[in-house]
């Protein structure tokens, strides 16, 4: 399918916070209570529309365990957006955010948009981290913030799409160098400014066919 842009995301955070469930909810609109432990990197993709433009989100879901940290780190660099996830019912996952953030800041490109996500909002009775704490952490570190539930799908769309909007705005502002694929942004075959297709005398805009 043709797209105007492709944005690459990475999902990070402690193991068990619901990263893989968030991805599945976003791409397949379903919740799978028992998700297999991610031991490497897994991929998902979905098309969204922003400002009337088709945008393909390519999402890399990573392993949270310490032992895979060096592999996970190696995937930050090529991402335009990151979803940093903690579990509102487990305070330790919130406490580890600083480490995750340092890691991300150190290994990603400086323009990467980071969305902080407090997941499992459906488990209000077991909540250990107040929403205000999440908001405060986000404000302090310049992140966007949302609470989500991969189970009920609450805010899941919004989390992925708001991140994309932020990236899109940055592109409009000229902050991102969109010609450098290492930034996690690719221009699609139908984009008016692309010069990758040699269309000869046709010139200018025409809806591109399939990608790649």
């Amino acid at each position: 399918m043709a797209y105007a842009y492709l944005f690459k995301y990475i999902i990070i955070g402690d193991t068990g916070v619901g990263k893989s469930c968030l991805l599945l909810q976003f791409t397949d609109k379903r919740f799978q209570p028992v998700h297999d432990l991610t031991i490497g990197v897994e991929f998902g993709a979905r098309m969204i529309t922003i400002d009337g433009k088709q945008i393909k989100l390519q999402i890399w879901d990573t392993a949270g365990q310490e032992s895979f940290r060096s592999i996970t780190r190696s995937y930050y660099r090529g991402a335009a957006g990151a979803l940093l996830v903690y579990d509102i019912t487990r305070r330790d996952t919130f406490n580890h955010l600083t480490t995750w953030l340092e890691d991300a800041r150190q290994h990603s490109n400086s323009n990467m948009v980071i969305m902080l996500i407090g997941n499992k909002s459906d488990l209000e009775s077991r909540r250990e981290v107040k929403k205000e704490e999440g908001e405060a952490f986000a404000r302090e570190h310049g992140l966007i913030f949302m609470e989500t539930s991969a189970k009920t799908a609450s805010n899941v769309e919004e989390a992925f799409i708001n991140t994309a909007k932020e990236i899109y705005e940055k592109i409009q502002e000229g902050v991102f160098d969109i010609n450098n694929e290492a930034n996690g942004i690719k221009i699609g075959p139908q984009h008016p400014t692309t010069n990758s297709t040699l269309s000869g005398s046709q010139g200018g805009q025409h809806a591109g066919g399939g990608c790649c």
Binding site: K8, D36, L37, I39, G40, V41, E42, F43, G44, A45, Q58, W60, S70, I71, R73, S74, Y75, R77, G78, E181, A182, C211, C212
Partner: protein, 518 residues
């Protein structure tokens, strides 16, 4: 490998190759693809996932998914190259196959004409059923085998993709022809099928073997009294079952190569590939290698190499001899002699070091005009090339590969014949950390056998022995060690060495499962 080929040719031809297109499928062909490009079938990747796997900037290490468990808990991981080709030109395959008796019986009869077999080339279905698809097996007459293979493509992904889909079917076809001999314990291969059996048996007391052997030879009512074998007056070579399996695998490689050549007329099959295939059959591992992939066994932390690479350097004498015997293959542009460096015109008449096909050492000869031609084998180590074009000397495909801007074909110098080594699995005790490691050259270019063995051994030691992902995680770790991390614009591994920029593929196969299964 594509760029390797290209840059070598470019050097040789004075950089005239600049700006060549890197289209992997097309290769200028309008013919349809037989198999579309993809990643190994057992990874079960969607088109979106395949696209993600080809991210040259991040080079994700792709592993077997939880839901796609491989036989023997085999571990697998791969990473794409750093940008030398658009697609990952490595391919892999892992199968459990059941070889069935041919319908209509009499499977090992000599009456099966070769031509009939050839005319029905396998196309992804046939004699070998996947184990899971055949729950109703007559286990006594069917033979089960495990198969793993790595293919490393060059100048396109077509040949590697095709071989990954079909080589195991050729193996199954050839094994089917000798199925009954293999199923008879301790039987030597009969010299001539359908003839009176002679005293072939290793264990004369094996009455069951004897009667079965007699029956499978199918001689109608031929009298056969086990007590008094007929006398022969000439000596006869004894051929073991093991040799029959080796022969079957060798012929499978040859048929695979012929099928690629034949179907090139109908399909677009780009490039060529190396092939490393492992067959586990009746308690033995058969490791067949044509190319520069490598297999090692790690047993109690010790490295046991079970393959050798075929490169311009390792095969120099074979290639030189061929060129010496058939100089027209060099198109008057190359010399079969090797010199330590290019000979210069002003050196004609002087005496210079050289080697011919008869030599592994060096001697001096007087330089003649002919010696000014480009050497058949040129370059050292990973940069060594045959005819300034290709860096591997065995494999499948490459039928239309020519020296750039010439009419000189490379194929006559390439061999599709694998070297098959046998590892008697059953003769050793294996622990959970004893494994067979298969890797494409992307792995071995940067890691020595010893380094790989140490990495795997220490990884597995720190891993829960009951974790069924342990071999996949070990494979992932090994690929990570070979790929490295991006630092200052380059891929770096431990000790600040350069990581591999090539496609990297790794199988890690635990050896304990063989005994459990068979």
């Amino acid at each position: 490998m594509l760029t390797r080929v290209k840059s070598a040719v470019a050097n040789f031809m004075g950089g005239m190759m600049a700006g060549g297109s890197n289209g992997d499928h097309s290769g200028g062909s309008d013919l349809p693809l037989k198999y579309p490009y993809s990643r190994p079938e057992f990874l079960g990747l969607s088109p979106d996932e395949v696209e993600c796997s080809a991210d040259h900037a991040s080079r994700p290490i792709v592993i077997v998914k939880e839901t796609k468990r491989l036989p023997w808990a085999t571990g697998y991981a791969e990473a794409i190259n750093a940008g030398k080709s658009a697609l990952n030109e490595d391919q892999a395959r892992c199968e459990v196959l059941v070889i069935k008796r041919k319908p209509g019986g009499n499977p090992t009869s000599s009456q099966i004409p070769m031509t009939r077999r050839r005319s029905s080339l396998p196309n992804g279905e046939g004699v070998a059923d996947k184990y899971k698809d055949s729950p109703y097996l007559d286990r006594t007459e069917d033979l089960m085998l495990n198969y793993w293979a790595l293919f490393d493509g060059h100048a396109g992904s077509g040949a590697a993709v095709m071989a990954s889909h079909l080589l195991h079917h050729h193996v199954a076809l050839h094994l089917q022809e000798v199925l009954e001999i293999l199923c008879t314990p301790n039987l030597l291969a009969p010299t001539c099928l359908g003839e009176e059996p002679i005293n072939h048996h290793l264990t004369p007391t094996s009455q069951r073997a004897l009667t079965r052997a007699a029956s499978l030879r199918g001689a109608a009512g031929a009298p056969c009294s086990p007590g008094s074998p007929p006398t022969r007056f000439f000596t006869e070579k004894k051929v073991s079952q093991e040799s029959l399996v080796i022969g079957a695998i060798e012929n499978a490689f040859k048929d695979m190569d012929m099928q690629i050549e034949k179907e090139k007329g109908v399909y677009n099959i780009s490039g060529g590939c190396t092939a490393l295939a492992v067959v586990c059959l009746l308690g033995k591992l058969y490791v067949a290698n044509a190319g520069d992939s490598r297999a090692i066994i790690i047993r109690a932390g010790e490295v046991i190499p079970v393959s050798a690479e075929f490169t311009p350097e390792s095969e120099r004498q074979r290639l030189q001899f061929l060129a010496y015997m058939q100089p027209q293959l060099l198109g008057n542009e190359f010399t079969h002699l090797e010199f330590p460096r290019r000979v210069q015109r002003k050196e004609v008449g002087k005496r210079m070091l050289y080697r011919d096909f008869t030599m592994s050492g060096w001697a001096y000869k007087t330089i003649e005009d002919d010696d000014l031609k480009f050497p058949l084998i040129y370059g050292e180590g990973k940069k060594a090339r045959v005819l300034a074009t290709i860096g591997v000397t065995r494999g499948l495909g490459d039928h239309s590969l020519k020296v750039h801007d010439s009419n000189i074909y490379i194929k006559p110098f390439l061999s599709c014949c694998p070297e098959v080594r046998v590892y008697p699995l059953g003769q050793y005790e294996h622990g959970a950390d004893d494994v067979l490691v298969l890797g494409s050259d992307g792995l071995w270019d940067v890691l020595s056998n010893q380094e790989a063995a140490e990495a795997v051994t220490s990884f597995l030691a720190n891993c829960n022995p009951d974790d069924r992902h342990r071999y996949t995680m070990a494979a992932q770790d090994l690929v990570m060690r070979a790929r490295g991390v991006l630092k200052d614009g380059g891929w770096k591994i431990s000790n600040d060495r350069l990581g591999s920029g090539d496609d990297i593929s790794v199988f890690i196969i635990p050896l304990t499962h063989a005994s459990k299964q068979n």
